[in-house]
């Protein structure tokens, strides 16, 4: 079993939205047709996006912390959006666990978007079908692209490498190790959706200084002058040398 997924490191994300724009650029240029974009430079720009970066403030001033939070489809292992689809347009691929929509079967009834607790799906207002993150399925298997670039557009574009991509079912993959060793977690675990995407928490690098480390009890400058007293007795060496 393979389950491709993203691991997003909130400790590293700086909230630059590069993943948002590169996602839109790649996915609006594909064979599935453009993602609608109304008034992109007007007063009320609106359109379909597969990925957003949101910002949250944790704590109360002055002890606050800003958390930039990229949000896209989590490709749940028990995806609630898939069984509710009446036409079978919404499906989860057996071979790699990517949750996809067959745009030619979708009737635009929006039921799958109601059944996603994360709001990861968006109806394309022009094509009138449901759209969502494809994990760049048209990119990661494209053999015309150099092998090291066969990753989702958001992962390639991230300037701080906050996004990792790989198989979370392979215990030795980069993503599995990151989840295991850096406390990776899932969003809204209370609904049992088992999201494949994981988030790595903010981590603090702290230095612990003990009080006695602040005053130097063992100053080497003083120690240098210490001479052990020598014996006045005749030693065996005196006879031999």
């Amino acid at each position: 079993m393979t389950q491709l997924a993203l691991v997003i490191d909130l400790n590293v994300c700086v909230g630059c939205h590069a993943c948002v724009t590169s996602c839109k650029q790649w996915n609006t240029s594909g064979a599935a047709g453009p993602m609608f974009d109304d008034n992109p430079y007007g007063r009320d720009p609106t359109g379909t996006f597969f990925n957003r970066v949101q910002t949250f403030e944790v704590g109360e001033f002055p002890c606050t912390e800003t958390v930039h939070f990229p949000k896209s489809c989590l490709h749940c292992e028990d995806a609630p959006c898939v069984p509710v689809c009446p036409t079978g347009a919404s499906y989860k691929r057996k071979e790699d666990g990517i949750v996809l929509v067959d745009y030619d079967k979708c009737i635009g009834c929006k039921y799958c978007s109601w059944a996603c607790p994360y709001g990861a799906r968006e109806l394309d207002e022009h094509q009138k079908v449901m759209k969502k993150c494809t994990l760049c399925v048209d990119r990661i298997y494209d053999e015309t692209i150099p092998e090291d670039r066969r990753k989702p557009a958001c992962v390639i574009s991230c300037p701080t490498s906050a996004r990792l991509f790989g198989d979370v079912h392979d215990p030795d993959s980069e993503v599995s190790i990151a989840i295991r060793e850096n406390g990776g977690y899932q969003l809204m675990p209370e609904w049992g959706t088992k999201p494949a995407n994981h988030y790595l928490p903010r981590r603090k690098t702290k230095m612990h200084i003990h009080e006695d480390e602040l005053t130097r009890a063992d100053n080497p400058l003083r120690k240098e002058d210490i001479r052990h007293e020598t014996s006045r007795e005749t030693t065996l060496d005196d006879w031999l040398m």
């Binding site: 910002t55 069984p83 009446p86 079978g88 009834c109 059944a115 996603c116 709001g119 799906r121 809204m188």
Partner: protein, 328 residues
């Protein structure tokens, strides 16, 4: 959630249509055992035709819920394929089945087609059989329609058996009210008290279960919080930006866009229009035998149920809204 008028009309129209059929079929089966006076096939066929019109009205409303109305002809047939997992798919199967059986019932009643299927030597055995099939399919349709909403476990206002009970009771209540008006208009005065009494009983029962769901929904303990949504353990987490300023599907589809006062007003409007007013009008109509008052009772109750359904959708709070609290 953002209430869609297509679904509001769909669920209320098919509810009334199915309720009307239940009323007609109940009186027919009662008449076969001589509990109620029998009527000719034209009476039942006419009533079932009105029920079928309501179903067709619901179907027309449903077309506007699709992405494009043309999907009705090009793609909607696929909607019957996922009946193993999807309540919506089950509804899409039950709906044409119920309409086909209503149509068969109309044909059998109108033309007086009959057969001694069970060797009872009684007339009406074929229409009884078709009617039972239609009633069972109709129960299935009520269940499917309500389970579409009740099956989404994180829409906590909907995820309750009360949703199914309410859809059934409110649909049958309005259908029996309509049947009372229909019987009065057809001069079937001997059936008016039967339909009317059941209409009152179902309306009162519907009031009790709807009130129960309102009380339940006022006390919901939210399972999702902004803390579980982003996975940060702190008592104070506040959104500063949702990542865009112009709005998106996420900000349009999951919010009703009205004030809390507007929502409260709609709640009181439906609590008045759908329950006490129709009961009083039914009582007045039954006392005076005035068909116009009975029709008014149905019109008021149906209007009240439109408000009720709007409120049903608007009240549901989707957990994705936790990600869309502040524009930025």
């Amino acid at each position: 959630m953002h209430p869609a008028f297509s679904v509001i009309f769909l669920t209320t129209l098919i509810g009334a249509g199915q309720g009307l059929f239940f009323a007609l079929f109940a009186s027919q089966s009662y008449a076969m055992v001589h509990v109620l006076p029998a009527h000719d096939g034209g009476f039942y066929a006419g009533g079932a035709f009105i029920a079928l019109l309501f179903m067709l009205g619901g179907l027309a409303a449903a077309v506007f819920h699709l992405g494009k109305p043309s999907y009705m002809f090009t793609r909607a047939w696929r909607g019957m394929s996922q009946w193993r997992t999807s309540w919506l798919s089950r509804e899409l199967i039950a709906m044409p089945l119920v309409m086909a059986l209503f149509f068969a019932y109309i044909v059998v009643q109108y033309f007086g087609i009959d057969a001694d299927l069970y060797g009872w030597g009684l007339p009406g055995q074929l229409s009884l059989t078709v009617g039972i099939a239609a009633a069972v399919a109709s129960l299935g349709l009520f269940l499917s329609t309500a389970m579409i909403y009740a099956a989404i476990k994180f829409l906590q206002e909907w995820a309750s058996p009360l949703t199914v009970v309410n859809f059934f009771l409110l649909g049958t209540a309005s259908g029996f009210t309509l049947a009372t008006a229909y019987a009065a208009s057809q001069g079937a005065a001997d059936l008016v008290p039967f339909y009317g009494a059941w209409a009152v009983a179902l309306t009162v029962a519907g009031f009790l279960t709807r009130a129960a769901s309102l009380i339940r929904n006022a006390r919901i303990k939210r399972k999702s919080t902004v803390q579980t949504a982003i996975g940060v353990r702190h008592t104070r987490v506040e959104q500063k930006s949702m990542g865009m300023m112009g709005g998106s599907y996420n900000t349009r589809e999951y919010f009703h866009g009205r004030t809390a006062a507007f929502l409260r007003a709609v709640k009181w409007i439906f609590l008045v229009l759908a329950f006490p007013v129709p009961v009083l009008l039914l009582w007045a109509g039954l006392a005076t035998g005035d068909g116009g008052v009975l029709l008014l009772a149905f019109a008021v109750q149906y209007l009240g149920l439109l408000f009720e359904r709007w409120f049903f959708f608007a009240q549901a709070n989707h957990p994705q809204n936790l990600y869309y609290q502040v524009v930025g």
